[in-house]
Amino acid sequence: MSEAAGEPILQTEGLTKEFMGFVAVNDVGLTVKRGTIHALIGPNGAGKTTCFNLLTKFHKPTSGRIVFKGADITDKTPSQIALIGMVRSFQISSVFPHLTVLENVRVGLQQRLGISMHFWKSEKTLDRLNDEAMHCLGQVGLAEFADRTAVSLPYGRKRALEIATTLGMNPELMLLDEPTQGMGHEDVDRVTQLIKKVSAGRTVLMVEHNMKVVASIADTITVLQRGSVIASGTYAEVSANPQVMDAYLGTTTTEGLGAH
């Protein structure tokens, strides 16, 4: 993997999505390099979530092409995408509320056993995944909550559980949509460190509003505005871009960036 680092893992060409005449994503060309943390930022309604939905096939692009690991995936289905190594999380908290914390992770792990249609087998056959599920939970500090239902966890921990579930799929590319949204300071720091930690050996594409988070962990930043890419580069490059400053409430410093 190390020699491939820096090569593009995901590329889009002319990616466009129209909702009944309204262009939510406009001619986006995105290159995500292997082994990096890549942040997608932009004001509310810029089209970031729609971009994620296009990349993971939850929406069909109106036009454009998506290439993942050198193969054109424009015509794949969302479940196929997950199986070739691209797993997403959602902007709204996305756990299985009435399953236990352990089961939440195990449902993802179960995928690779290839027995998920086996309605005649006991669920005890899944117990062999417990160690690995506990390992994933351990990585995000949730091991002690394994037997609780997901719904009973506090918000910050739910988001950590999502990351654990995503990790269990062992994705080459993780897509995280606003993983720190709605969190208090402590949780934000914890989740930021967590993302940094789990990004070892993989690629992360994340939507993030918190500029402190972006500045501290992102290698590359792409700025979207009204559906179009207006800048892309390192934090220093992007924050010096006058168009970007303009986009963020016309401020001339980057401090205003965090306000969104």
Partner: protein
């Protein structure tokens, strides 16, 4: 399973086994109960564990009743073959209906299943072999495996009990299988299940087929018990009744549909004397139940136990 639950199941089973040796409850009534309990449990696999509300399950229950009745009466098939034929019909119809309906969500899913089941009702009314308004009457109960005469209620009772137990165990297993885990995850959060690589349409379809097949088994058994298959069995009222039983008893609980079926069938029996008023009374009871205990009878009971356990754990935690 807790020892308490196990004990409860054993007591239930023992009670069911001694039914033919007492005079307090009418044995045919218990057979009817078993058929509807199985029907509602099969329906609950879809509503309670997959989150799909079908409003057309009469097509499987009633359709299978017709198939079994016809196979046993016109072709002289043995009861077990007649029931297998009914189940095969239900599986195939379930697959066809399911394929058409599962790509839709919520109310659209319900409407499509309703429309398709009306098609089966229309066929039952119009086709020759179904006997129109009369239905198929005087279905012979026949000899099980060509050996055991089922014309005695006791023999038929144990056969129906065996079928119902098989059905419950099959549902129970499906719920607690790797497949069941995925079903529950689809019910809880469908987009998330998709993002974990599950082709949810495949899972919903299989759940639909299993549910339809077991609903068919219930209908087939019923046609042997009453030696009758009629338009009532395929009417949309029947589809509504099974929704009612499941919600009343408790969606997504194992015993809920059984209790719900017991309450509805019991009340229907009890209220039969007042004629068409019974529908109104049932409706009123339903409304009260839905407003008063939203989780259904068994659902509320389980929630109560859960609250008590949590309170106990909390108290224990404080002491230590």
């Amino acid at each position: 399973m807790s020892p308490r639950t196990k004990a409860l199941y054993l007591v239930l089973l023992a009670l069911l086994l001694i039914v033919p040796f007492q005079n307090m409850v009418y044995i045919v009534f218990v057979m009817k109960l078993l058929c509807f309990a199985l029907f509602a449990s099969a329906f609950n696999l879809l509503l309670g564990y997959t989150g799909l509300l079908s409003f057309g399950h009469a097509a499987f229950f009633g359709g299978a009743a017709y198939v079994t009745a016809h196979a046993c009466k016109a072709w002289g098939w043995t009861p077990e073959m007649g029931i297998l034929a009914g189940m095969a019909y239900a599986a195939i119809t379930g697959w066809a209906f399911g394929s058409l309906a599962i790509r839709r969500q919520g109310i659209y899913f319900a409407m499509i299943t309703l429309a398709l089941s009306q098609l089966i009702f229309f066929l039952a009314l119009q086709l020759k072999f179904t006997g129109g308004e009369d239905g198929i009457q005087g279905v012979p109960r026949g000899k099980l495996f060509g050996l055991i005469d089922l014309s005695s209620d006791t023999a038929l009772y144990y056969f129906v009990l065996a079928l119902a137990l098989f059905g419950f165990l099959a549902i129970q297993r499906a719920i607690h299988s790797p497949f069941g885990q995925v079903l529950k995850s689809i019910r809880e959060n469908e987009p998330r299940a998709i993002s974990l690589g599950y082709d949810v349409a495949k899972f919903k379809l299989l759940a639909f087929v299993i549910s339809a097949t077991l609903a068919g088994m219930a209908g087939s058994a019923k046609s042997l018990v009453f030696q009758l298959a009629t338009l009532t069995d395929v009417h949309w009222h029947m589809s509504g009744e099974v929704v009612l039983m499941t919600i009343l008893g408790g969606i997504g609980t194992i015993l809920g549909p059984v209790v719900g079926a017991g309450v509805v069938i019991g009340l229907q029996n009890y209220l039969a004397g007042i004629g068409s008023f019974s529908t109104i009374v049932l409706g009123a009871i339903f409304v009260v139940c839905v407003l008063a205990f939203r989780r259904g009878i068994v659902g509320e009971w389980l929630a109560l136990l859960e609250r008590r356990r949590a309170a106990k754990a909390e108290a224990g935690y404080r002491e230590s």
